[in-house]
């Protein structure tokens, strides 16, 4: 009896091990807890706080102010212009983005790495510089100016130049989302489709496109979000002519300048809300579909 008690006093090796494991687990939870807190604070301060701020100021004056703002002809025209630029940009960057991604992921050619690096150039160059480059090419005395002037086509201070710079700035997104997916997929599924009698076009639409669709949609969403948010390059090439070449972002700038912050907040909130809904929508849709497949 007494022998068993003394044995009980000293911890068995098993109990030691359990205690060490528990301590490890506690430390693990602590580290995870700290990281989670830091992460949440970082995201809240840098992302959520500004959003909350804009939401608060936009709605401060009540729903009447919102209706009034959207009733303004300048605002309506600005949104229409932004919408047109977004649609054209998305179509162009999607079609050419997929082509470039296919070439980068599938073919081997000299200078490939340089092309791959060039694709990221728009991310590295300030939009203002992009705008200036467009002015150098299409502005008065620019390289391409005589060609378009002779045909009576206005590029600068008009929609074409605004679309051009926005496309330039939005080039990387689709390519960067799609190329790695293509690379990982390999070509076997496509080759299998060919042996089953599918033409190249059938193979692209029935096999390749289906396999890259989530990456592609995400790239399109980023492209759309980027195109409606562009301001620097568009400001330079458009001249920001009120009611004519003024996009939603340019309207925000002018409203601020002219001491109409309320209207600026409301337009800004609309743009932000559109982008957020776009990204979250795709994320949710993707999750639901992949849950079905799995």
């Amino acid at each position: 009896m007494s022998a068993t008690t003394t044995e009980r006093m000293a911890p068995t090796p098993d109990e030691d091990l359990t205690r060490i494991r528990n301590a490890d687990a506690r430390r693990g939870r602590l580290v995870r807890g700290v990281m989670l807190t830091v992460g949440l604070i970082y995201v809240s301060v840098l992302l959520l706080a500004p959003l909350a701020g804009i939401l608060f100021y936009a709605l401060k004056a009540g729903l009447g102010a919102i209706g009034q703002t959207f009733g303004l002809q300048d605002v309506q025209h600005a949104f229409l212009l932004t919408f047109i630029i977004m649609v054209v940009t998305v179509v162009v960057t999607t079609v050419f983005g997929v082509v470039v991604a296919l070439v980068l992921a599938r073919d081997r050619f000299p200078g490939q790495r340089i092309v791959s690096a060039l694709v990221d150039l728009p991310l590295a160059i300030s939009p203002v510089v992009v705008g200036l480059m467009a002015v150098l090419l299409f502005g008065r005395g620019g390289l391409f100016a005589p060609f378009f002037a002779a045909r009576g086509i206005q590029i600068m201070f008009a929609l074409p130049a605004m679309i051009l710079v926005t496309v330039f700035i939005s080039i990387p997104f689709v390519i960067r989302e799609v190329a790695p997916v293509l690379q990982e997929l390999g070509m076997e599924e496509e080759q299998a489709a060919w042996t089953l009698g599918a033409s190249r076009l059938q193979t692209f639409f029935r096999v390749t496109l289906r396999n890259i669709r989530w990456g592609l949609l995400y790239g399109i969403a980023l492209s759309a979000a980027r195109s409606i948010g562009e301001v620097g390059a568009v400001l330079i090439v458009s001249g920001a002519i009120q009611g004519r070449t003024e996009t939603a972002t340019l309207y925000i700038l002018r409203a601020f300048d002219q001491y109409q912050p309320q209207q600026a907040y409301i337009v800004a909130l609309t743009l932000a809300a559109f982008s957020i809904v776009l990204l979250i929508g795709i994320e949710l849709f993707k999750r639901r579909r992949s849950a079905e497949a799995a």
Binding site: W194, L196, G197, R206
Partner: protein, 359 residues
């Protein structure tokens, strides 16, 4: 619907590397032909050229009597089974099998009937609505086979179809494919590096090495009557002994082996002896050797023997024929069915040693 495949002088280079070098053979109508060789022997490249996935530099490909050398993949109507299945991951089993019928614009009733038939054939009916990601490797390969067969191809091409599967599944699937072929009888060309697979499944084996054909023959031809030292070493395992030709025999120091009458007197020669062709003969055996090691392989025992000349031999002997031999014993052995070849001056014997090392 089926037809033979005739290959003439097929050649393909990648840069300066000759992957396939003047390859010719015939895969007979309704039979299984195996392209057997180590990796890098050009067998997969040859198969991909027959499918139309690679363009040959020269040569002729005839499928079911029609010249298909320059036609597109789609026109050739071949069924192709990939090593890693290449199933369409976003389609169900049913949709995968249906794909070839759909792109050929078959009407819906016909499609449904054909898919049902094939699901049945590969025993996948209960899994028709699953996605490839939800299937095991063996199931995936059965779906891939059904998909390839759905548009009723003239020939079936299989590129290492069991290569990505584990041993047990590989054996089961091999037996199943053998039965399936007896049932449907489509001309099949199978690429494999596994000699057992080739010998078991094929009516004709084409042994390839470094881009060219070493031998074309029935499984027993390539196994029992290898045409080249490479075939002797690669198809089945073999002990390699180096000697010279004297009087129609290969002389190997203290003993000689028959079967060299076709070789020039005095020439250096190589003799190949299969492990199961070595028998423990007690005192009266021609060749004396010391048992270095005994290892049980179940019903067989693998004996590593050291000859007086210092060379080692590997023998596979049924347990009941051991007669109590133990490690360290000096015994007599018989070497049966040796295959003798001229030792080619440029022959890379190190490669042969490597091949036979796992005996």
């Amino acid at each position: 619907m089926s037809g033979s495949i005739e290959i003439q002088g097929l050649t393909k280079s990648f840069g300066s590397f000759k992957a396939v070098d003047d390859v010719s053979f015939v895969a007979e109508d309704g039979k299984v032909t195996a392209l057997l060789g180590p990796s890098g022997s050009g067998k997969s490249t040859a198969l991909r050229m027959i499918a139309g996935l690679e363009r040959p530099d020269s040569g002729r490909i005839t499928i079911a009597g029609e010249d298909q050398t320059r036609t597109s993949v789609q026109e050739r109507r071949v069924g192709f089974v990939f090593q890693h299945y290449a199933l369409f991951r976003h389609m169900t089993v049913h949709q995968n099998i249906e794909f070839g019928l759909r792109v050929r614009k078959e009407d819906q009733a016909k499609r449904r009937a054909r898919v049902g038939e094939l699901l049945d054939l590969v025993h996948m009916t209960p899994f028709a609505d699953r996605y490839p990601g939800q299937l095991s490797g063996g199931q995936r390969q059965r779906v891939a086979l059904a998909r390839a067969l759905a548009p009723q191809p003239k020939v079936l091409l299989l590129d290492e179809p069991f290569g990505a599967l584990d041993a047990k599944v590989r054996h089961d699937l091999r037996r199943w494919l053998d039965e399936l072929h007896r049932e449907i009888g489509v001309t099949s060309l199978l690429v494999t590096h596994d000699q057992e697979e080739a010998l078991e499944l094929a009516n004709t084996v084409v042994v390839m090495h470094e881009g060219h054909v070493e031998q074309v023959g029935s499984p027993s031809d390539v196994y029992d009557r290898p045409a080249t030292p490479f075939v002797a070493g690669f198809v089945g395992s073999a002990n390699v002994l180096h000697g010279s030709v004297v009087d129609g025999h290969v002389h190997l120091g203290s003993f000689r082996l028959p079967g060299a009458s076709h070789l020039e007197e005095g020439a250096p020669a190589t003799a190949f002896v299969r492990p199961h062709d070595i028998r423990v003969a007690g005192e009266e055996g021609d060749v004396k050797a010391v048992i270095e090691r005994l290892a049980s392989l179940g019903w067989l025992t693998r004996i590593t023997l050291r000859l007086d000349s210092g060379e080692t031999l590997v023998a596979h002997v049924p347990n009941e024929e051991l007669h109590g031999a133990a490690e360290g014993d000096r015994i007599g052995v018989d070497l049966r069915n040796p295959k003798a070849f001229l030792a080619p001056e440029h022959q890379d014997t190190s490669a042969l040693d490597e091949i036979t090392a796992d005996t």
